[in-house]
Symmetry: C2
Subunit: 197 residues, 2 copies
């Protein structure tokens, strides 16, 4: 005999599909749902369905949107484009409320080992935007890892000849951390990219 | 402007209602849902609705069931009743696959500070079961805290006169842990409840 009756087992199984959620945590979540009112649980289920039904990608930048184009593309200054790997990176940068330009979501990075080449991500669309508009700077904000760096280099090579400044987010010691505990790669990068005072 | 468009914000908000889930984790879960196929997301939503629609409480023991009575009450020996606070405690004990008796879920414990008295939990139903059946032992498996202890004492007082053995799960040093790091209350309890070798 199973420990859980079928509907509970099913829900535990679904929660286990979420990132970082093991059996134990999935159980806790399932119990929480059982404790909810019918209407609360309905709202939860509707939110899941709603996200799949309503969320699309912006035709211009590739970010999440409910319309054809996203709110950022519709309202912001288009002289500076920040290039990111995924829509969640847009959310992380928007949270700062500092960047006032627009985005371009690549939906991936160049990664030959996984069979992802330049034509598999939205680089062509980026070049089209630059050719059409009055773009002054492209900030490449891909992750500071091998494929993020490779993608940044590739984009720089294509975009620089178009008379557009290409920049990359600085790498170095995280603010508030300690030199003693900084990993070697980051520390040596902090030396290479050191700034004049 | 919000960081998230409305359907994503809604889903993040729903995930935030789960125990121990903050904004960041809720976001990760929401992104996972966005990445799912339509059919996967539908199955997830259905599991949530399903659990609310199908899960009821067993008329006899108060555990989760899809029928009038649960599989344990229908098939097991009824001479030993294990009394627990919540259905999830049944799952924890069933996982051991050692206890062969039946359960009685109180759906709470006596806790005067929260206004929960003996009549607010399923103690009356426990006494009725004992009066009706051929019960030999009641194992009180409420949590080893103030209200769990109080509830155990209360049940013992009522059940012992009915010629039924009342026992309580042992408290002591957790298996595999070290005396040095055991908290004072547990350590002193381990002295009080020490066993002859």
């Amino acid at each position: 005999m199973d420990i859980f009756i079928e509907p509970i087992g099913k829900l535990v199984n679904e929660f286990s599909k979420l990132p970082g959620v093991g059996k134990k945590t999935a159980q806790r979540y399932a119990y929480k749902i059982i404790d909810m009112d019918e209407s609360e649980a309905r709202a939860f289920a509707d939110a899941i369905i709603g996200v799949k039904r309503k969320v699309r990608y912006c035709k211009i930048c590739g970010n999440f949107t409910e319309e054809d184009t996203c709110g950022i593309c519709r309202t912001r200054d288009k002289e500076i484009i920040c290039v990111v790997k995924e829509p969640k990176d847009v959310a992380a940068i928007e949270k700062l409320r500092e960047f006032k330009g627009v985005y371009h979501v690549l939906h991936g990075v160049i990664d030959p080992l996984s069979g992802v080449g330049p034509n598999d991500i939205r680089i062509r669309e980026l070049l089209a935007r630059i050719n059409e508009g009055n773009v002054k700077e492209v900030i490449v904000a891909t992750n500071p890892d091998v494929s993020g760096d490779a993608t940044a280099m590739y984009i720089a090579k294509l975009v620089k000849p178009l008379d557009v400044t290409v920049t990359r987010l600085s790498r170095g010691i995280p603010v508030g951390s300690e030199i003693e505990f900084t990993d070697d790669v980051t520390l040596s990068r902090a030396f290479i990219e050191r700034n004049k005072l």
